[in-house]
């Protein structure tokens, strides 16, 4: 097992490094790319705090998905909330002593796991996919997930925070909004 232990440990460090570096790269890329025009999907909040509240509703409640498709919303929300609980529960493997909130969440993590699987099955019901193996496979999948996160549609997570239709304040008449590359057009 010691070879496997070393292998898995190295893989995890590698995957964690790729995840951190890749995500940082993408987030910096999003943050640096200008949004030259005001394009919030209206009706939109007219204040910064309103925008924070809008994004919070999207992140926590999946508000737009709720409007769009109730079935996808039910399973999608179950999956993500379950994943959230499971991740919290797994923190106990990485911290010592284990923080109190993480201790308290332990019993719920199990239900989170169930919710995740139910949610995933519900979502996969629309596009069949294989499932189910043991710990090695589980860990391998986690490694895989961490590796592909920065290069795939998993970027929807950070992406939402940078979505101009969701994160912009609706105040174009009150405040002039202009990107650097667009300002250069004015000087010519």
């Amino acid at each position: 097992m010691s070879f496997l232990t070393v292998l898995y440990a190295s893989l995890f460090y590698f995957a964690a490094a790729v995840l951190a570096a890749g995500l940082t790269y993408k987030v910096v890329q999003y943050a640096r790319t200008p949004a030259p025009l005001k394009i919030p999907t209206t009706p939109a909040p007219t204040t910064r705090s309103g925008v924070v509240f809008r994004i919070a509703r999207e992140v926590v409640l999946f508000e737009s998905l709720f409007k769009g498709s109730k079935w996808t919303w039910i399973f999608g929300w179950m999956f993500h909330f379950g994943l959230f609980l499971v991740l919290l529960r797994h923190l106990r493997y990485f911290i010592d002593p284990v923080w109190l909130p993480i201790q308290l969440v332990q019993p719920f993590g199990i239900y989170g796991g169930i919710a995740m699987v139910v949610g995933l099955v519900g979502l996969w019901g629309r596009q069949p996919l294989p499932a189910d193996l043991v710990l090695m496979l589980h860990l391998l999948l986690v490694i895989g997930l961490m590796l592909i996160f920065p290069f795939s549609k998993l970027l929807h997570g950070p992406g939402l925070f940078f979505s101009p239709t969701r994160n912009q304040v609706d105040n174009p008449r009150e405040q002039r909004h202009i990107a650097d590359w667009a300002r250069r057009l004015e000087q010519s």
Partner: protein, 510 residues
């Protein structure tokens, strides 16, 4: 009504989500722009030699300029929330008219050239080379998007297909594949000042005619001035308002409202167009060039305020982009927002009790209201979010006795596009226009059957033109679509000017 070689969809009581029929709309392509029109806009005249390389380079440039494009091409998880939200999908059954299907036409190319996975494992992630077939698909399906943003309401990440179709058109223009309708119209704005190519003298004639008509009908001298310096308000309105029905009835209404407000105003022959098709083709430079004409007109005519007439995408460009494209507006009167919508102006006046309205003048109509997509989902009116829904309705209710909304799923932020927006309003796309109108016409038909609605009011020149043309395909009458300010015009009780017997300057004396 023109001869048709396609089947007009049947209207149902309850909206149905159709089963997909792949490729049924791939034949639909608008006419290409001729090279001389491309040149006016700074685009190559025909497909350039190494078009693939240049298109990919352009895509790279846009990815660096527009965060929306970069984030939206990365973020889609194929959740399916958007699939049944596009009126073109609902009307044509073509899966490439699902928002996600349309986006994927670009996303597969993006993945191939701009992502690690797509470069090395293209099959695994659905990445594809930018082949001639893909380009043909682009030309076809990115011109079946009216950029109405309905999909963006339902996407959990706010992905807006309009951003993607705009970028696609910009990329195609950059390699010489332009759409005739949009690009020729933008050329006309540069040469003549408006989309319809109406020169100054023709405008002067038209406006003079309107003054005579209104005087004959009401006995009150209402002015419709052109190029008058030093007045308070510059009115920027879609050029369709100068002659087409029911648009012109709206313009007559604006003049009457200004008359009652006692403010001086003018139209500019140089900026005689509210529309800005630069947005449709995703070209910041062209959109800016068109918008700058309004700035120049405002400076030259020394006005203090800018008011926009009834036009959907024009109001998006005006409300959301004008400050960016042609601001700052520090030389205008800071007491008013720049620009203002005509509906905001009329509504303010109504609230101050300065408009005398006789609702019974519109008793021959039972009305409903069509929220135009760009007004609904890309702009605002008044001080609070949603004012763009409430203010036009308040005006309709103040000017008529019979008003019923269409089903909630089809109005306000969920409104269905007329089917002609975003550069689709051209006869060579008639099949797309008729089929894309289906969800809206279905909802209209329901309130006609159940509430006895006879007319639908709108505040968009494209919507008005589109419905005028398309309603007859569904067995309805072209004049069932009316302007909101047409209702105002009918209901308003004009105050005769003191000098109504004299020849001129009624307004400026007031």
């Amino acid at each position: 009504m023109a001869k048709v070689n396609f089947e007009v969809p049947e209207l149902n009581r309850y909206a149905e989500i159709p089963a997909v029929t792949p490729g049924v709309m791939s034949h639909s392509k608008p006419y290409m722009a001729k090279s001389e029109f491309q040149a006016d806009l700074g685009f190559p005249g025909e497909l350039v030699d190494d078009w693939q390389k240049k298109a990919i380079a352009k895509m790279g440039e846009l990815l660096g300029k527009y965060r929306s494009l970069q984030v939206y091409l990365d973020s889609c998880v194929k959740c399916g929330s958007c699939t049944d939200k596009c009126h073109y999908y609902l009307g044509t059954n073509d899966p490439k008219n699902m928002p996600v299907g349309r986006q994927d036409l670009m996303r597969k190319v993006y993945r191939r050239y701009f992502t690690l996975a797509g470069r090395y494992f293209p099959k695994l992630v659905g990445a594809e080379d930018f082949s001639k077939e893909v380009l043909d698909d682009w030309y076809s399906y990115f011109h079946q998007c009216s950029q109405c943003r309905r999909c963006s309401v339902f996407c959990p990440y706010g992905i807006d297909t309009a951003e993607i179709s705009m970028a696609a058109r910009e990329i195609m223009d950059s390699i010489g594949v332009g759409q005739k309708y949009c690009n020729e119209i933008i050329g006309k704005v540069y040469k003549i000042g408006n989309n319809l190519g109406l020169p100054g003298p023709a405008l002067a004639d038209t406006l003079e005619g309107l003054e005579e008509d209104v005087y004959d009908e009401t006995g009150v001298k209402v002015r419709y001035p052109l190029d008058e310096e030093g007045v308070e308000i510059l009115l920027v309105t879609p050029s369709a308002d100068f002659f087409a029905e029911p648009h012109v009835d709206g313009l007559i209404g604006y003049g009457k409202v200004f008359h009652e407000a006692g403010v001086s105003w003018t139209i500019s022959s140089y900026a005689s167009e509210a529309a800005n098709f630069g947005m449709f083709i995703g070209s910041y430079e062209n959109m800016r060039r068109v918008a700058q004409r309004i700035r120049k007109a405002a400076i030259d005519l020394k006005v203090k305020r800018i008011v926009f007439g009834e036009c959907g995408h024009a109001w998006r460009v005006a409300y959301s982009f004008l400050n960016t494209l042609a601001g700052p507006w520090d030389f205008l009167d800071p007491r008013y927002p720049v620009p203002q919508h005509m509906c905001e102006f009329t509504y303010d006046l109504m609230k101050q009790g300065k408009l005398k309205l006789d609702k019974s003048q519109n008793d021959d109509m039972v009305l409903t209201y069509h929220d135009s997509c760009n007004v609904a989902r890309a702009s605002r009116m008044g001080d609070t979010p949603g004012g763009q829904f409430d203010i036009p309705r308040a005006i309709i209710k103040a000017t008529s006795n019979h008003f019923f909304d269409m089903e909630e799923e089809t109005i306000r932020e969920r409104t269905f596009c007329c089917g002609g927006g975003g550069g689709v309003l051209t006869d060579d796309l008639m099949e797309v226009r008729v089929k894309g109108a289906k969800p809206r016409v279905e909802a209209l038909n329901n309130v006609m059957q159940e509430k006895g609605v006879t007319h639908m009011a709108a505040i968009c020149a494209i919507c008005k033109s589109q419905f005028t043309k398309v309603l007859p395909f569904y067995g309805m009458k072209m004049d069932q679509i009316v302007s909101v300010h047409q209702l105002v015009s009918n209901a308003i009780i004009l105050t005769p000017g003191e000098d109504d017997e004299e020849a001129e300057d009624a307004d400026e004396a007031a």
